[in-house]
Each structure stands twice: as C-alpha cells, then as structure tokens.
C-alpha cells in the first residue's frame, strides 16, 4: 500500500502562536515551541512529530496568517 508522507514549513517570523494549527492537526504533528519565541515574542508552531505528518494541509487551511506551506509525497 502506498504511504503518504508530508511535511510543513512554518514562517517563524509571521507566526503569532495562536495554536489553531495545533488544534486542527489530526495527527498531533504540530506543537507550539514551549520556550523559544520569535522576534515578536510569540511561541511559534513547529513540527514536534514530523514522522506523523500526512500533508493533509488542515493546519495551513486554518492558519490566519498564511505562514504554513505544505509538502506531500506518496511512497510506493
């Protein structure tokens, strides 16, 4: 069976740490940085469990700041 693997890039400076992508992620791939902040002081989102990502783009769909870009590959 073909396996789908995904990855996201997050524009760290643009992220406001609103947590909506983390809530929307069905595979618990994303999390907010527990300590690090970006230039404007927000705990930005990052891929805490990159191996779980399926590239479904739910995070990018709900992101109010358009800072997530999604990549997906099908491994046969």
């Amino acid at each position: 069976m073909a396996k789908v693997q995904g990855a996201v890039t997050i524009d760290v400076d643009r992220c406001k740490g609103c947590d909506l992508c983390v809530v929307a992620c069905p595979t618990d791939t994303l999390a907010l940085q527990p300590k690090d902040v970006n230039d404007r002081g927000y705990h930005y989102a990052y891929m805490a469990h990159p191996e779980a990502c399926t590239g479904c783009a739910s995070c990018a769909t709900v992101c109010p700041d358009g800072c997530i870009e999604v990549y997906r590959v099908v491994i046969k």
Partner: protein, 255 residues
C-alpha cells in the same frame, strides 16, 4: 524519507497565495480576518481577475485590508463601503467590485447603505465578517452581539429590554429582490474554511456575470474582544454564535 527530502518545490501541495503581500497582518493571534483575507486572495487569483478587481475597505479591524491583498483598493468612510462600491461598479462596469466589512461597519453605521445597495441589486460582492463585537475600538457591544454576551459596554451581558435584540442582517438582505446570493459561513474548522472559499468563489462569479448583489457573511471570532484564547473563542463560537446565526445558504437564485 526525511523532512528535508520531502520539502522540495515539486512536492508542494499548499502555498501562501501570491496575492497576499509580505506584510505581517496587524490582527490579533487567531483572528478569523486572516483566514478570510487568504481565501479572498486565493479566489481572486483562481478566477484570474486580479487586474480588474477593486476592493472597498471598511472602518474597523479590516481598515488596513489594502495593505494585505494585492489588488486595487478604496478606503470608505465608516459604513459607506457599499455606496462607494456602487459608484465604482457603475463607472467601471467591467471591474469586479467587492466590499469587506465587519458587523459594526455593515450592520450598525452602514445599515442604510448596505440595505439600499442590496435592494438596488448592484453587481458587487459584500464580504461580511460577523464577530458580534466592535473589535478595533476595544470590544464594545455591536448590533450583532448575542443576548447575555458580556462586552465593554454591556458588562453584565446584553439585555433585550435595554439593548435590543441581535440583528440578523443577512436574513433581512435575503428578503430583498436585488440580492442573488446570500450565505452564512464560518472558518473555525478546515472543512468550513473550504466551504467558505467555495461560497466566496460563487459570489465573485455572480459579480462577474452581473447577477446582482452577493453577500457572504462569515461568522468569525474575536479572541481579544471576547477575552478568550483563540481555541476557546472558536469553541464558544461553535456553541453560541452558530445557534443564533445558523450556517448555510439563505438565498441562491439560479439565473
């Protein structure tokens, strides 16, 4: 495969729309405005009308919308966006004109302009963000504020005997013969965001086909005004707002 191997241009499935500028928005974290801005930018690009689209920005949180979407814009006085959009669409009939308004702008100060533009059936798209509060000025009661909802000017909750009832402006507009498409959507889950995008696309297609006024109401959140985290605000929206403002098409005239 490692993350580095996956992140290659040929594997990209979702990119930031080209029509969004590089400016970082001034909206609070989690605000629905950002999502709707992105959807408008995506729809305009997909329809290929970026060179002939004119937006009319309101007064309210979206007052700086012209900084974020790379089309032509006009800034209107408070509530007067539909009147200005009327003038633009009549003077430049080949252009696609849309207004982007909040509930304080559209349902309070601009009630007359909104209703009469819709009643005349102007070929414009009205994007209406309803977050039940005046966000920009510090969370005062708006006409759309729910009964019992606490705001800066109704600290004990909105009372019907003192403050009146929440106004369902889209239902009023749906009764007018000039409107061709009136819908109420939301953007708090990925599925609803996709539905809102489809609704916006239909509205812009109606404007291109000169079918009349299209109104897309988006029931949105205001985490700062409601004094909640974005996640809690979306839960509150789902529980209370969609009860008073049920989602779905209110009017869809075919031809």
């Amino acid at each position: 495969m490692t993350v580095e191997e996956i992140i290659k241009p040929e594997n990209k499935v979702y990119a930031r729309p080209e029509l969004l500028t590089k400016n970082i928005t001034h909206y609070c974290p989690g605000c629905g405005h950002g999502v709707v801005h992105r959807l408008v930018a995506e729809v305009i690009k997909e329809l290929g009308i970026e060179e002939k689209t004119v937006g009319v920005a309101p007064v309210g949180c979206a007052v700086f919308a012209y900084n974020y979407i790379d089309v032509d814009w006009v800034e209107a006085a408070h509530g007067r966006a539909p009147a200005i959009a009327t003038a633009i669409s009549r003077l430049y009939p080949e252009d696609v004109v849309f207004t982007y308004q909040g509930d304080g702008d559209l349902a309070a100060i601009g009630t007359a302009e909104t209703i009469h533009a819709a009643n005349r059936g102007e070929n414009i798209v009205i994007v209406f963000i309803n977050n039940a509060i005046y966000g920009m000025t510090g969370g005062q009661m708006a006409p759309t504020t729910l009964l019992g909802q606490k705001t800066a000017t109704t600290p004990y909750g909105r009372r019907a005997d003192l403050n009146g009832f929440p106004i369902k402006i889209s239902d009023i507009l749906a009764q007018l013969d000039g409107t061709c498409y009136v819908t109420r959507q939301a953007v708090y889950t990925p599925g609803l965001v996709r539905k809102t995008k489809a609704a916006l696309k239909k509205a812009f297609q109606n404007a291109m086909a000169k079918r009349g006024t299209s109104i897309v109401e988006v029931v949105s959140n205001c985490p700062s005004g409601w004094k909640m985290t974005p996640e809690k605000a979306n839960e509150w929206l789902k529980e209370h707002m969609t009860e008073k403002y049920p989602l779905g098409d209110l009017k869809d005239v075919k031809e």
